[in-house]
């Protein structure tokens, strides 16, 4: 099965081999460019997130893909926001259920809750923290694509799968003929 591929590799000149490697790097860098361009366009540090928990069911299930935007206007009640508590890695996707705008400073005091949770998120915030603020928010959910992100979750749960997948894709690109 691999004889053909090995023969192909042996017959490649140095120049052709370099060409294949460049092709591979091209694909990786264009993916990175698209991602960063999206981040710039949406003004959100991660414009696409995968839902990791069931706390917003039945709207969002584990593995659904969310497209985020970062509106200039202040946070509104009922918005589904993605926020990050400092010192914790995993961002949370929950709905805003209370907003108080302070007149003097314009600072927003925000409380969130998952649609599927019985209680609000004060238990998820840092100990004693009552509110979150605009700076904790990564983006507001604008668009929805079901199930596609399940691959990411599988790769997180089984890290070996990630290397197998990257390896196979890398080999495929290196060995593919124009």
């Amino acid at each position: 099965m691999f004889e053909e591929e090995l023969k192909f590799m042996r017959n490649l000149s140095k120049r052709q081999f370099a060409q294949q490697v460049l092709n591979f790097l091209m694909i990786v860098s264009s993916a990175l460019i698209v991602w960063k361009a999206m981040a710039l366009y949406t003004n959100s540090e991660s414009p696409i997130v995968v839902v990791l928990s069931g706390s917003m069911e039945p709207a969002f299930y584990r593995g659904d893909l969310l497209f985020l935007g970062m509106p200039d206007e202040p946070v509104k009640i009922g918005d589904i926001c993605v926020f990050k508590i400092p010192g914790r890695d995993v961002p949370i996707v929950h709905r805003v259920i209370k907003v108080h705008d302070e007149t003097e400073t314009g600072k927003q005091f925000i409380l969130t809750k998952g649609d599927n949770n019985q209680v609000d998120d004060r238990g998820l915030y840092d100990h004693g923290q009552m509110w979150i603020h605009k700076e904790h928010i990564i983006g507001k959910v604008k668009g929805f694509l079901p199930h596609i992100g399940i691959i990411t979750i599988l790769m997180n749960d089984y890290p070996s799968l990630k290397y197998v997948l990257i390896g196979v894709l890398g080999l495929y690109v290196l060995f593919s003929r124009e």
Partner: protein, 163 residues
């Protein structure tokens, strides 16, 4: 000559392209589907009690409302569910905008979207960030969020009711 892998690859790539093109078309078309939702909200009772909250005395409001709504037209072939909620908005001297969700409900079928003479009590604490509402005037309204099977999230609100 094409081997089996190449054929499978081409077929898979084509299927993915078609699928995403379809998702794109659905996302673009859905916002243009017409709908005519109606809703009226009436306040039947409003009481304010003072309780201890966060080590100080704080005003808690309790609202009873009646909801009459026909949101059936929001259900089209790309509607997964509606999230409806009653929102109260008011201003105080220290905070120029206060918004609180008092009650919410998830509607998953068109039949449930016809709401007749429905009694609502606030499900969440109706309490100010300071300890007092300062006798502020409040506005109550019904909001809905439309969750699609695929595409953009949309929302709307019924007319405001002043108190």
């Amino acid at each position: 000559m094409y081997n089996l892998m190449q054929r499978a690859n081409a077929l898979f790539a084509f299927a993915i392209t078609v699928l995403f093109a379809l998702f794109g078309v659905i996302s673009v078309v859905t916002p243009f589907l017409s709908s005519s939702p109606t809703a009226t909200l009436n306040i039947s009772d409003l009481q304010i009690w003072v309780y201890e909250y966060n080590l100080s005395e704080s005003e808690f409001a309790f609202v009873d409302m009646k909801l009459e709504a026909d949101l059936t037209s929001l259900f089209n072939w790309n509607t997964k569910q509606l999230f409806i909620c009653v929102i109260v908005e008011y201003n105080t001297d220290t905070h120029n905008q206060n918004q609180i969700i008092l009650w919410d409900k998830i509607i998953k079928s068109k039949e449930d979207a016809l709401i007749k003479n429905y009694d609502i009590h606030n499900a969440y604490n109706f309490v100010d960030i300071t300890s007092s509402f300062e006798r502020a005037n409040a506005t109550y309204s019904l909001h809905w969020d439309i969750m699609p099977h695929v595409g953009m999230l949309m929302n709307g609100r019924a007319e405001k009711l002043k108190m």
